[in-house]
Symmetry: C2
Subunit: 246 residues, 2 copies
């Protein structure tokens, strides 16, 4: 069997440049969307509906669902929650359906709808993702959510960590410059992660808003073996509305 | 005086996301457009007209100009030259005007037309660029031509080398994740550049075409102090056609 192809896409704006129909797309927004979503599933959420626009989030709130909505790091007025993983305890989310709309992550999550499968990647579930992808026999593209379509270092670091593990396991190869760059940056960052994160613009954005206490948690490895993935079955709320389950 | 802002854009498709009106744009396509253009000026070319489409190049050839045209690494049939820096000796280019159209570089060159100034960056003129930018009192964005709007490692390495020199000189600051990543990758690559270039997809594309003998030259530093830049004065060939001069 030939090894499987692995690519990294640094920005949602570049995603249409990749051929993705038959690939598994791993979406990553380390600070904070995919870390938050993974946390929700750790704490027993039933379903998460990612929506791109504020209008969609508002419309769904009218149906009685809890809404998480954030732009530029800050909770929007009409929302029930902002975007910290610490809000979504078992008491808050267990067996619930949440609507979720953030600056970067929710757009990235729905871009891969025509691919083989979209899964949610974070350090919290990285080893489970490696195990899953090694068994998948399917090419993979890691899609970094970035910051407003620009490159984000923290998503690249996750892409590097995941790429490194996948290459070491031997089922995948890469000829992708973004993947090779990601591995090198992850190796460099690992020498002293706390110091390295000073280079990350999103760390400083969160710090300005007093929200940087979430950062160490967002880099914790393997707190769960759950892998949220995107579904496009008909939903009782709205036809063909994609949602995340585990 | 406040230090000047420095950013790196990894792909032409992301360039519209940056505010660039009052900035100097350093365009880089190390393998090979900006290295080739710099070489043409070293050898005394009078003017280089970068054109995006094959149709424009064909039209300009009818006026009697020499045309360089390449797609996916290979010379196009109607063109006078392919895209190797070794073609453009003094005997060939001195005092001439050349039309130039390549896969990635020529698109990137004209994207910054509304900025303060567009200059051509390569390792061949890197120290002169540093000196020029340190005197400019103007914010800078380094635009990597990439590969068909994807990230290219070799352009990122140049962005890292230039960013590192500019930060060390003290006139510039950066809060740009792409700039910080570029510096780290350049430092890593410098440990053993030849070995590092094995990770570069464009090296392998050129190798397949038997064109990789240009690569060592494309990483030679400081062969000239010339800095080609983009002009948009009226040209006798066509109104408002931008061209490069030194």
């Amino acid at each position: 069997m030939n090894p499987l192809k692995l690519e990294v896409c640094f920005s949602p704006i570049q995603f249409p440049l990749f051929q993705t129909d038959d690939k598994i797309v791993v979406v990553v927004d380390i600070l904070r969307a995919t870390t938050v979503i993974t946390t929700m599933f750790i704490n027993g959420v039933n379903k998460v509906i990612p929506v791109k626009t504020i209008e969609e989030a508002k419309e769904l709130k009218k149906t009685g669902l809890l809404v998480v909505a954030e732009r530029d790091g800050q909770k929007l007025d009409f929302a029930d929650f902002g975007n910290s993983p610490f809000y979504f305890t078992k008491e808050v989310v267990e067996n619930k359906t949440l609507v979720y709309s953030t600056t970067n992550g929710t757009n990235a999550l729905t871009l891969g709808l025509n691919s083989n499968k979209v899964i949610v990647g974070s350090f919290l579930n990285i080893s489970s993702i490696v195990e899953y992808l090694n068994k998948s026999l399917t090419d993979v593209i890691i899609l970094c959510a970035g910051w407003k379509d620009r490159f984000s270092l923290e998503d690249c670091l996750f892409a590097g960590a995941l790429t490194k593990k996948l290459l070491e396991a031997g089922c995948f190869y890469t000829k992708c410059d973004s993947a090779n760059a990601s591995v090198d940056l992850w190796e460099k960052a690992q020498e002293n992660l706390d110091a390295y994160l000073e280079k990350v613009a999103q760390k400083h954005r969160l710090q300005k808003l007093g929200l940087h206490n979430v950062i160490p948690y967002c880099f914790e490895h393997d707190k769960t073996n759950l892998i949220p993935y995107l579904c496009l079955e008909k939903d009782k709320l709205k036809e063909n509305l994609p949602y995340l389950i585990v």
